[in-house]
């Protein structure tokens, strides 16, 4: 029966082959997960980075008094009667003049040349003029937004073939754009406005920005932080330190772990029914969004806070009680400060989760098209009561538009969102590393 250990028998060989196969499956699974991650992030980056650049046309624009301020009084009320429709031809003429001055020839009609300028540009110029009426009658240099198609051409999204089928542009316009670029009139610059400007209508993707969405998200995070943190910490303290073990606390515990797994959209229904229909808070407002996200994040914060409290050894509590502190004092003076880094980490992760959440916000009306920056407080709509959108909802909104230029912006918004999340998680990891304590 004794066989030598130095020779491997056939059966062992077979078993070792099975072992290798099994290991390969495991490695394969990891590879699939990693490849998915790389592919996901890679495609988001490659589709979205373009939107951080924006094409501008630098033009010297004459602002003729005859058209912008017929009265000559520089009275704002009179001047504001000239709408953007009155400004558009001025910009068109400036561009046509610039083309002529450079000695470029094109088959395009003046109207089609004008189409190379974004519809938003007229509004930009008008606002500048109304803010400073003295500009009328002078020639001012403006950096005007190029239209989405011209912008797309320089980013490779629009080509001569696609332009031939497009009503909004033409291959000739692209040729002219290229010549203008070579002449230094058209320039592509970093798109700071993307983070500042509000959303724009379907016709002018080049002007759409995340300003309102970032502000709305910020307001909601403020609401979540101010509500979820104290409530979460208070209820964790009760459950972990004071609650007797009975049916009621059992019920709360089961309830919390279940709430953590309730689909987020259900919280949206709750928000719609309770906060909007029943309590009659404002639709689309960061207050309602923040309340819904608070209820959603609460279980996450409670679970991590309880873990942090649990990791503080009982000897600390005993020591405090031993010198005559009350139970409440031992918790607030000793246990809570020691658990604070863990609580903070959990809170940041909860906030990050809330920042990326979309579905419930769709139901409480945050999909609305909002161009006004919401104020934090107004006397009519109260605290955080003005309509706003949020970063992830803005992404969803842009996917629903017809112009593909919005898709690029949706990806760019996702990149922005991911950068925010990255920062939050990095802070959480840093805090955890820095304050990690082994008992």
């Amino acid at each position: 029966m004794t066989t030598s250990l130095l020779t491997t028998d056939a059966r062992t060989k077979k078993r070792n082959a099975a072992e290798k196969r099994f290991k390969a499956y495991g490695l394969g699974a990891i590879c699939i997960a990693m490849v998915s991650l790389v592919f996901l992030l890679g495609s988001v980056l490659s589709s979205g980075l373009g939107a951080f650049q924006q094409t501008y046309i630098a033009l010297d624009v004459q602002l003729p008094e005859a058209r912008l301020d017929k009265s000559g009084t520089r009275d704002l009320e009179v001047m504001s009667k000239v709408t953007t429709i009155g400004y558009a031809p001025i910009l068109r003429d400036a561009l046509v003049a610039q083309v002529a001055a450079l000695g470029l020839t094109t088959d395009l009609s003046d109207k089609d040349v004008g189409k190379m300028i974004s519809k938003e540009a007229a509004a930009t110029v008008r606002n500048r003029v109304l803010a400073n009426p003295e500009l009328v009658g002078t020639t001012v240099r403006f950096d005007l937004l190029a239209s989405g198609r011209i912008d797309g051409y320089f980013k490779g999204r629009v080509t001569a073939e696609s332009a031939a089928l497009d009503q909004n542009t033409s291959p000739e316009a692209l040729v002219l754009a290229q010549e203008l670029k070579d002449a230094g009139v058209i320039e592509t610059k970093f798109n700071w406005n993307f983070f500042v400007l509000p959303d724009a209508s379907d016709q002018r993707p080049e002007a759409a920005g995340l300003g309102v969405a970032i502000l709305g998200s910020l307001y909601m995070m403020a609401v979540v932080l101010c509500l979820a943190l104290p409530i979460g910490v208070a209820s964790s303290i009760y459950l972990e330190e004071f609650a007797p073990r009975n049916r009621w606390t059992d019920l709360i515990e089961v309830n919390i772990s279940n709430l953590a797994a309730v689909p987020s959209i259900v919280f949206g229904i709750l928000g719609l029914a309770i906060f909007i229909n029943f309590m009659e808070l404002n639709q689309s407002s960061p207050l309602v969004g923040g309340l819904v996200l608070t209820l959603m994040t609460l279980p996450t914060i409670i679970i991590s806070t309880r873990a942090a409290l649990k990791s503080v050894p009982p000897s600390i509590r005993d020591a405090a009680l031993g010198v005559g502190a009350s139970k409440m004092q031992s918790v607030f003076h000793h246990v809570l400060p020691l658990a604070a880094p863990g609580i903070l980490t959990g809170t940041i992760i909860g906030l990050a989760q809330a920042l990326g959440e979309t579905a419930p916000l769709l139901l409480i009306g945050m999909v609305a098209f909002v161009r006004e920056y919401p104020a934090a407080y107004t006397s009519e709509s109260g605290l955080f009561g003005e309509a706003a959108t949020a970063l992830p909802v803005q992404v969803y909104n842009w996917t629903q538009r017809s112009d593909p230029a919005f898709f690029e912006r949706a990806f760019a918004a996702v990149i922005t969102l991911l950068v925010f999340l990255l920062i939050m998680n990095a802070v959480a990891i840093y805090l955890r590393r820095k304050f990690e304590r082994r008992w």
Binding site: R15, N16, A18, E19, R21, F22, Y25, G26, A29, I30, A33, M34, S36, L40, S43, V44, G232, A234, S235, I237, Y238, L239, F242, A243, I252, V254, I256, N258, A261, V262, P263, S264, I265, V266, I269, L270, L272, A273, M279, L298, S326, M328, L355, G356, E357, T358, A359, L362, L363, V367, S379, P392, V395, Y396, T399, F407, V414, L418, L421, N425
Partner: protein, 400 residues
């Protein structure tokens, strides 16, 4: 809303004033020597602040709720009640300041009350969810036959009335997509967890584990965008069209695959916990008999961990069923009962979104059906969660 602001100001003012008055009064009672006091002046002050504000704020909360429920208007009477409560608390706590008064115990009683209140918010949330949906679902079934809702195989809402609102095609889409997602995520997540906990060296672990966790931290809207613009068109161009299975970029397959990617970290981290809970002695026993690692894993570790793994899969299933953004962007909007995974289908969550966004009329069954759908979704996921958590908990106890 606005009528509350003066009330809140009055309460805050009283509380702040109470803090300082109580402190100085306590010092006076002590005759300048705080050692003669049972409780510190600070604790008297805290007691005054809490006695003033807590009952008054609680009254505001209750009265607002009462007014909402009865549809009544706020009146001077309620204002007096609130102010009265605040003043009473203010006065009694100040008058009560004596040398032997146990202000600390009293203050701590208020704090405990606040802690208990905070811990009931989780319960109130659940109650709120259930009631808000039950109420509107009841209204819905008042207008639409529940048998048609549960058993009809067509979904075609029509805002002029005469809608068919059968849940079956939505449930089918939901389950089909979840099935594909799980079929993708469970083997990969499980194998990844096994590899990481049983084979991988520390270097590999330190790279792969955080990378997989990153997948978990990505918001679902990002996955939705990925499905809509990248995966959907790719599946259509390379699989569906060449195979003659359809021309739609939104499909069950698109949503299922992307959701599968989303669920990988969920399955793997849960399985990782569960596999690590299997005691090392069990592995040693098997290895000591001359079993290979894979034999040990397949025949000892996995069977031992099976209940936990099943619980993890059920939790993942509940996550898949309730997922919204990926299916809104990736699955399509057509309610259909079909087996072809490359066709667009729709889910319960997609329809909740589409029925409740835009102009909604809370009297029509086309809007109210969303609440019935929400309730159905809630009941299904709750059932799965309770069952899964029960299994996982029992499993953990087994090895503790």
């Amino acid at each position: 809303m606005q009528s509350l602001t003066p009330l809140l100001l009055v309460i805050t003012g009283l509380a702040v004033a109470g803090y300082f008055i109580a402190k100085s009064r306590a010092m006076k009672v002590a005759g300048g020597d705080i050692r003669t006091l049972v409780s510190l002046p600070r604790q008297h002050a805290l007691n005054t602040v809490l006695s003033t504000s807590v009952p008054a704020l609680a009254a505001i909360l209750l009265i607002s709720l009462y007014l909402r429920l009865t549809g009544g208007q706020g009146s001077w009477f309620f204002g007096f009640v609130v102010i009265g409560l605040a003043v009473t608390g203010f006065a009694t706590s100040l008058i009560g300041i004596k040398q032997d008064r146990r202000a600390r115990t009293l203050a701590e009683r208020w704090i405990l009350g606040l802690l208990i209140f905070a811990s009931t918010i989780a319960i109130m949330t659940t109650v709120g969810i259930v009631f808000s949906m039950l109420f509107e679902t009841y209204n819905f079934f008042g207008q639409y036959d529940w048998r048609n809702f549960f058993f009809s195989t067509t979904w075609s809402p029509n805002f002029r009335g005469n809608s068919d609102l059968g849940i079956l095609p939505l449930l089918w889409g939901t389950l089909y997509i979840s099935f594909i997602a799980l079929a993708f995520a469970v083997p990969i997540g499980l194998f990844a967890a096994i590899y990481l906990s049983e084979y991988a060296g520390p270097r590999m672990r330190s790279v792969a584990k955080p990378a997989i966790e990153v997948l978990a931290g990505i918001p679902t809207i990002v996955y939705g965008l990925f499905a809509l613009f990248i995966v959907g068109p790719a599946l259509r161009d390379y699989f569906a069209e060449p195979m003659g299975l359809g021309q739609s970029a939104s499909s069950v397959m698109t949503a299922g695959l992307v959701m599968g990617i989303m669920l990988i970290p969920f399955v793997s981290s849960l399985s990782d916990d569960i596999i690590n809970a299997v005691p090392q002695s069990m592995r040693d026993g098997s290895l000591g008999l001359g079993a290979t690692k894979s034999e040990t894993i397949r025949q000892v570790v996995i069977p031992a961990a099976l209940p936990g793994v099943i619980g993890a899969v059920l939790l993942a299933a509940s996550r898949a069923i309730g997922e919204t953004m990926i299916v809104v962007l990736g699955a399509g909007a057509a309610a259909r009962l079909s087996l072809n995974p490359f066709e667009a289908m729709t889910t319960v969550t997609v329809k909740i979104v589409s029925q409740l966004t835009g102009d909604t009329d809370f009297a029509s069954p086309e809007t109210l059906v969303a609440f019935a759908l929400g309730l159905t979704l809630f009941v299904i996921t709750l059932g799965l969660n309770v069952f899964a958590l029960f299994i996982v908990r029992r499993y953990r106890e087994q090895y503790e």
